[in-house]
């Protein structure tokens, strides 16, 4: 049981209006009432009584790196974020523990009405806008940990793109957990108004702790008519983070949501990004990849709800299991009655690199519309001795060969990443697999 006093304290600390406190308290009630999910793997050690549910980094949000205390600035400099912001980003927001500490957007975009603010500030500065969307896209009642998120949320970013504004460069939010046995519950809300376009990148990191930490974040995206939102995550938490993430987008008429969800780090990761295709002609593509390298559990997938006619969805999932890793794909395609001529194609492939690893796929289709077209295909393959022999005969070591197999397996998805991200990811994977697999 989590006491309401903690929730009230978080709310008071941020001078929140009554309506936000009400959302928190209702969510807390749901959390205490909803059953613990029994199907999940890898959350056995999770005891919320052991963890700090709110950790104030002691830094007020600023919009210039120079205003940050030196020790905090160094964290981000080590991650090369200030440099990266200068070269590649239209805006950047960074969260440390339970609060957003830095937020900045390019001046010309500010002048066009783009808002990039810490979520807590947006609640106070733009209450009508936030209230219209907050918790309306991903409902607190979805499951026990989404309810927990809404009760305890703190930090995160609010991004609003006015009608017709197209951002040429991406906006990034970066989340960092600095201590063990800590809970991070950041909430991000992205609104692309009619005809707006944005690429939002989410990154995360934490040092390796002796004990675990817990991440239970949320991302809500609303794409209005004709808007385009590309959302890219490459989750690279350290290997003792238990990671839940509650992510959903709603696409109105002719809007397009492009989603790249990558999962490399974390001890256990449970993320099913979902899209509701609410308006006629709305579409989405979801590219999901996860790597369970070591005794870790990656439980991911994609969920699409076709509600309107002529909606289209494509899901491509790639899971790699090595060294005792467990990869699980849980997907859902729901095509409602009336979603005439809806089209959905799901492809999910798993690669097993040794006999200690596991791959499971649980795709779920609920089709209630006779004119819809739906296809799903899944295969599980292994890295065969023939392939290994061939690559070794070309001069590669076993580890290099396996690294190459991994990169080849997710090549299609890498193509969808920004160039600089794809090259960093390649380096991370090469380094990871060169240590030896199996």
């Amino acid at each position: 049981m989590i006491d309401a006093s903690i929730v009230r304290e978080i709310s008071e600390q941020h001078n929140e209006p009554e309506w936000m406190l009400k959302i928190r308290l209702n969510a807390l009630e749901l959390y205490n009432r909803l059953p613990e999910p029994r199907w999940l793997r890898g959350v056995e050690g999770l005891n919320l009584e052991d963890i700090i549910l709110y950790k104030d980094p002691g830094v007020r949000p600023v919009s210039s790196w120079d205003e940050l205390p030196e020790d905090v600035r160094r964290i981000y400099e080590r991650l090369n974020l200030p440099e990266y912001e200068k070269e590649y980003l239209a805006g950047l927001s960074t969260a440390l523990d339970s609060e957003t500490v830095y937020s900045n957007v390019m001046k010309p975009l500010r002048e066009k009405g783009v808002i990039l603010e810490p979520m807590h500030e947006a609640v106070l500065n733009h209450p009508e806008l936030v209230r219209r969307y907050f918790s309306r896209i991903f409902p607190p009642a979805e499951h026990r940990y989404s309810a927990l998120h809404y009760a305890l949320w703190s930090g995160g970013v609010f991004l609003y793109i006015p009608p017709g504004v197209k951002l040429d460069l991406p906006v990034e939010a970066f989340f960092y957990i600095s201590t063990e046995l800590e809970g991070q519950f950041e909430h991000s809300l992205i609104i692309a108004d009619r005809g707006a376009e944005v690429h939002f990148i989410e990154g995360c990191s934490a040092p390796l702790f002796r004990k675990f930490s817990f991440h239970d974040g949320a991302v809500e995206i609303y794409a209005h008519e004709g808007a385009y939102v590309k959302f890219t995550t490459v989750q690279n938490w350290s290997k003792n983070i238990i990671n839940f993430n509650n992510k959903r987008a709603i696409a109105e008429k002719n809007a397009f949501i492009e989603w790249v969800e990558g999962s490399i780090g974390a001890k256990t990761s449970i993320v099913y990004p979902s899209v509701v295709l609410r308006g006629e002609g709305a579409r989405t593509t979801m590219n999901v990849f996860s790597i369970a390298h070591g005794p870790y559990v990656k439980d991911g997938g994609a969920k699409i709800f076709h509600v309107a006619p002529n909606t289209r969805s494509t899901v491509v999932s790639k899971g790699i299991s090595a060294d005792g890793g467990v990869n699980i794909y849980r997907g859902l395609i729901r095509i409602n009655r009336g979603a005439k001529n809806a089209f959905s194609h799901v492809s999910c492939d798993s690669l097993l690199l040794d006999s200690e690893s596991e791959a499971s796929t649980y795709p779920h289709a609920q089709i209630d519309e006779p004119t819809a077209v739906f296809t799903h295909e899944a295969t599980t393959v292994r890295f065969s001795e023939d392939q290994l022999f061939y690559l070794q005969s070309r001069g590669l070591s076993e580890e290099e060969a396996k690294g190459l197999a991994v990169l080849g397996f997710i090549q299609d998805i890498l193509r969808g990443l920004p160039l600089e991200y794809a090259s960093v990811l390649r380096e991370v994977l090469n380094a990871d697999f060169s240590k030896g697999v199996g």
Partner: protein, 340 residues
């Protein structure tokens, strides 16, 4: 061996702590059976043995045949089981419901290659378990027709020895039918081929296959025909255990809907990298305009083509069961709904 009194007592002991589906709370492996209807049916006291034509009553079962903790439906079933039968495969087996809730438990030990036809008709609620042991080197071929107008729980558990084979054809036409296959490929080179179709009404077919030895092969295909008001689901897992090697497994779950709900959840759990082939797919098989046009250019009206298409699609899954009068009537109704 377990005698009937022991079975009832042991099942009653586990009943309070057993759920209908161990993982029923998962958002993607949720239950599609209205278990509350079964709970009502099981709670009555007047249980009937119904009619089991072609089998012989016995008073005990081997212990491997008794596992009530797998599902609350099984625990209920065993807790008041009125009789046990064995069957040697020499005659057609007909299962019929009696007055009140009917519970039937049939044991098969297949020692020689056998072709088995089972027709299961239920007017009242019913639970039946078919426990099949296929001896090494033997093949069992079972055609199963399930129809009825009341909640019906059918559990088919098959253990396969070395180089044995289990083939099943299933046709389900019913209201609130829950058919659950559990096939254990225990022996080397044991294989199974399960193929079926659900036509109309409300049914939930679960096909679970566990490959646990060398060079096992499993092929599962199921087809759903759902018209307005129907609610049909096919789910199932093929699990390749860590001890298995060289397995070849494939599941194909397809549907054709004219406005009813069709649910398809084909699942794979692969616990070893030593697999030759592991794949599944799920798709809708609605005929497209080009197919209809092609048939018309060959002199078939679109109505005649659609009827033929549905019939042959079903026949590809259920073979001769497509000729049963119940199945033909159901196909006719479905074809009419597609033509509309």
């Amino acid at each position: 061996m377990l005698r009937l009194d022991d079975i009832r007592k042991r099942a009653a002991d586990v009943l309070p702590t057993t759920t209908y589906q161990p993982y029923g709370d998962s958002p993607t492996i949720r239950s599609y059976t209205r278990w509350e209807l079964f709970e009502d049916a099981f709670s009555g006291d007047a249980w009937d043995r119904g009619k089991v034509i072609g089998a012989v009553p016995v008073d005990a079962i081997p212990s491997f045949s008794f596992d009530p903790s797998r599902s609350r439906a099984l625990a209920h079933h065993f807790s008041k089981l009125p009789a046990i039968y064995t069957w040697d495969g020499s005659k057609e087996l007909l299962l019929e419901s009696g007055e009140g809730h009917t519970a039937q438990h049939i044991l098969f030990c297949v020692r020689n290659d056998a072709k088995i036809y089972i027709r299961d008709v239920s007017r009242n609620s019913k639970s039946a378990t078919l426990d099949i042991l296929v001896r090494p080197g033997v093949s069992a071929d079972i055609s199963l027709l399930v129809s009825g107008s009341a909640p019906q729980y059918l559990h088919i558990r098959v253990h396969l020895g070395r180089e044995s084979r289990f083939t099943s054809r299933l046709a389900v036409i019913g209201q609130d039918a829950h058919v659950h296959y559990e096939v254990f490929l225990n022996g080397e080179r044991a294989s199974t081929d399960i193929s079926g179709g659900s036509i109309g009404g409300r049914s939930d077919v679960v096909t679970d296959v566990f490959a646990g030895s060398k060079s096992n092969r499993a092929f599962v295909r199921h087809l759903i025909f759902s018209s307005p008001g129907d609610f049909l689901a096919h789910r199932g897992v093929i699990r390749v255990e860590r001890a298995s090697s060289g397995a070849e497994v494939d599941m194909d779950s397809a549907f054709l809907t004219t406005g009813g709900l069709a649910v398809s959840v084909p699942q794979l759990e692969i616990l070893t990298d030593d697999v030759v082939h592991a794949a599944h797919r799920s798709r809708d098989l609605s005929p497209d305009d080009e197919q209809v046009f092609y048939a018309q250019t060959r002199g078939l009206s679109s109505d005649a083509f659609l009827e033929l298409y549905v019939k042959e699609l079903l026949r590809s899954r259920v073979a001769s069961l497509a000729d049963a009068p119940e199945v033909q009537n159901a196909v006719k109704s479905f074809s009419e709904s597609i033509q509309r």
